[in-house]
Amino acid sequence: MNIIITGLITGSMLALLAISFSLIFGVARIVNIAHTAFYMVAAYCIFSLTGKFGLNPVAGMMIAVVVVTVLGLLAYKFLIDPIREHEAAVLIATIALAMIFQEAVMLIFTGDYRTVSALIEGYFIVTGVKVFYQQVLTFGVVLVILGILWVLLMKTKLGLAIRSTAEDREVANLMGMNDSRLAMITMGISVALAGFTGAVLAPLTVLSPYMWMEPLIMMMAVVVLGGLGSIKGSFVAAYILGFTEALVVFMIPKGAFLKGSVALSIMILVLLLRPEGLFGISFEEER
């Protein structure tokens, strides 16, 4: 039971991060390394708003998502858009952006560890296993968000435009879709999702200016495993790696710290057998 709960929570967090990362990569070919830094900024926003200003946690979460989305849009407009055609430059610029966020958080909040109160305190027992209410709430919220995202992508005109641009940017452009505007909207959605992940997970984690690094590696692993730019792939891969991490912790107590390494090894193994990832387009085909 514990493996299932832990796997579901970890997988859902990775799914939210990886899907939003895949979204902007698929549509605009932007490798946004600062993606998890936005997640960190959202977590610190909630810490400030609820802890220092005494705001209601739900209101704090909403404001944090808005703040992060605005930050993401500004970053796109002034930093990414001017160099968008040069993928390597975008990659480096977003690394710099993440470092700037890290240093800014360090300056404002120092390197001390911080925590955020859970929305619902306490736990319940299922088949002898103690499960936090906050974990169940987080999992439920993540499912709702993933559902909303699915509806947005599959049932709306905007979703159709995003999907068609992700599939073939040039053809979508020829069909009259404003590629740049669409990229900006997608960036907004992507960063908002990263912010939302930070918001829902803040009560379950410990805040530090370096908290963006560990999920970044796992998120990249999910994206590569699932297939670059594939949303479906990211979803499936996130749960594969989430459950792998949980299994390692339960099966090898002395090697709990190896959970990340084992997950990354699985990624390498899959890539050796299927270089395009689980649901990706093969590199030859893309060329």
């Binding site: 560890y113 911080r114 925590t115 736990y123 936090f132 974990q135 379950l204 912790v249 339960f250 002395k254």
Partner: protein, 432 residues
């Protein structure tokens, strides 16, 4: 002409007076304070040094021979948690650019070792206030002429830290046995980090010898954000005592989740985050009954110097000093009295004097050790009458001193209890 002569005379007199006064307010003793300044360890390094400098300067400064010199602090951010090169650059800058007379601070062994070398290259006294590794002092014994400028300020070395931790564990086990009348089953939970490797091995060998059943070893990542899996397994193992070795954020995660899940076991050992004032808030009150080694606790007195230091620090900075704030001791108790005694800033003279001193400090009494061959190590003597450290426990929102409480260091030795100690408690949910 007479007026001109008078003017020249006045000018000359003024110059002479200025020249005479210059040493009194123009020359200072420059002390470099090096540490990770964006983190609590570095902040405490700086705060301790500031407090010492303020106290000494308020009294007119340091008497160096015939001169009265004030203390000037130079802050150096070693950034050593992230980059050891930043640490060595900061030390190099203190030596070449700031031209300090002495250095205090340092935290991570990996950074302190190269920083130590730089200070020795320039023959500057460096009092370490953070790294516990014994090898830092072994270097003094092995190559005295080069490393004699190094002194350990705090904490006592890692061998003694382990020894103290087992004393804490023993005290916890005694309460479990007395109150629950059950055999002690102990779990080891140590973050995956270099400093815990040796300690885990020693603990695995020592715990069964102490008469406790070792039920397992868990090694979460130092930055793990979820340890519910480990906690479930620990509860399933039947452990009633958890030996913790945490210096990073996992200390908060573990204590918070264990408290929230009401895991029926006492946490004892080292949890650096639990030594901080902010721990109660960081765990949202779930860190109740966490029991950890510590250096200073409000209300606990090792010597007559403890209370003025702890309360003065609390008044000045709004928090209880952590052990890296012992830069205060390094400056106010080690360096300044030695400088005044030898009447000089000459490092060799100060070393010769300081290594033979035995003096009171806020955390006990300092006496520098010699190794088995009688060579000076400049390491700190551990044990009753010298430095022992403390252990504190969070009891309903307050961090209180619980060890040493009627502690007998060796058979036949007298009991040791410092002023302000209270009995250790086990979590009430262990009694159900």
């Amino acid at each position: 002409m007479k007026i001109l002569t008078l003017g020249w005379r006045l000018l000359l007199t003024l110059c002479i007076v200025m020249a005479m006064c210059l040493p009194a307010w123009g020359r200072t003793i420059k002390i470099g304070v090096i540490g990770p300044m964006n983190f609590v360890q570095g902040k405490s390094h700086w705060n301790g040094a500031v407090m010492a400098a303020e106290e000494i300067n308020a009294k007119g400064g340091v008497q160096v021979g015939n001169e009265k010199m004030k203390i000037e602090l130079v802050k150096a951010d070693s950034n050593e948690f992230l980059n050891v090169t930043d640490a060595t650059n900061a030390m190099e800058r203190l030596m070449t650019q700031d031209k300090v007379d002495f250095v205090v601070g340092g935290f991570r062994t990996e950074a302190v070792l190269p920083m130590q070398d730089i200070a020795m290259d320039y023959k500057k006294i460096f009092i370490g206030c953070g790294a516990a590794t014994k090898s830092l002092c072994d270097r003094v014994a092995e190559n005295y002429n080069r490393y004699k400028y190094w002194f350990r300020g705090t904490p006592f070395n890692d061998n003694y830290l382990v020894r103290t931790s087992f004393s804490h564990l023993g005290a916890g086990a005694a309460v479990i046995k007395n109150e629950l009348k059950v055999p002690v089953k102990c779990a080891i939970v140590a973050e995956k980090a270099a400093w815990t490797e040796g300690m885990v091995k020693v603990a695995e060998a020592t715990i069964p010898k102490m008469g406790f059943e070792l039920v397992g070893v868990w090694r979460p990542s130092a930055v793990a954000t979820d340890v519910t899996a480990e906690l479930s397994a620990i509860q399933k193992s039947g452990a009633n005592l958890i030996f913790t070795l945490f210096s990073s954020s996992v200390g908060i995660t573990f204590a918070r989740q264990a408290g929230e899940l009401k895991i029926p076991a006492l946490q004892a050992g080292i949890n650096v985050e639990a030594q901080k004032e902010g721990f109660w808030e960081a765990t949202k009150g779930m860190g109740n009954y966490v029991y950890t080694s510590s250096t200073y606790i409000r209300g606990v007195e090792y010597s007559e110097l403890t209370k003025p230091f702890v309360e003065g620090y609390f008044k000045r900075f709004g928090e209880v000093p952590t052990y890296t704030a012992d830069t205060h001791t390094a400056i106010a108790e080690a360096l300044v009295p030695s400088i005044e005694a030898v009447g000089s800033l000459d490092a060799d003279k100060i070393v010769a004097y300081l290594e033979n001193r035995e003096y009171l400090v806020p955390s006990g009494k300092v006496k520098y050790e010699k190794d088995a061959q009688g060579r000076p190590t400049h390491d700190l003597t551990w044990g009753p009458g010298y430095l022992t450290g403390l252990a504190g426990q969070w009891q309903d929102g307050k961090f209180v001193g619980v060890w040493p409480y009627k502690w007998v260091a060796a058979p036949g030795a007298p009991e040791v209890t410092y002023k302000g100690m209270v009995p250790l408690k086990i979590p009430p949910w262990m009694k159900k």
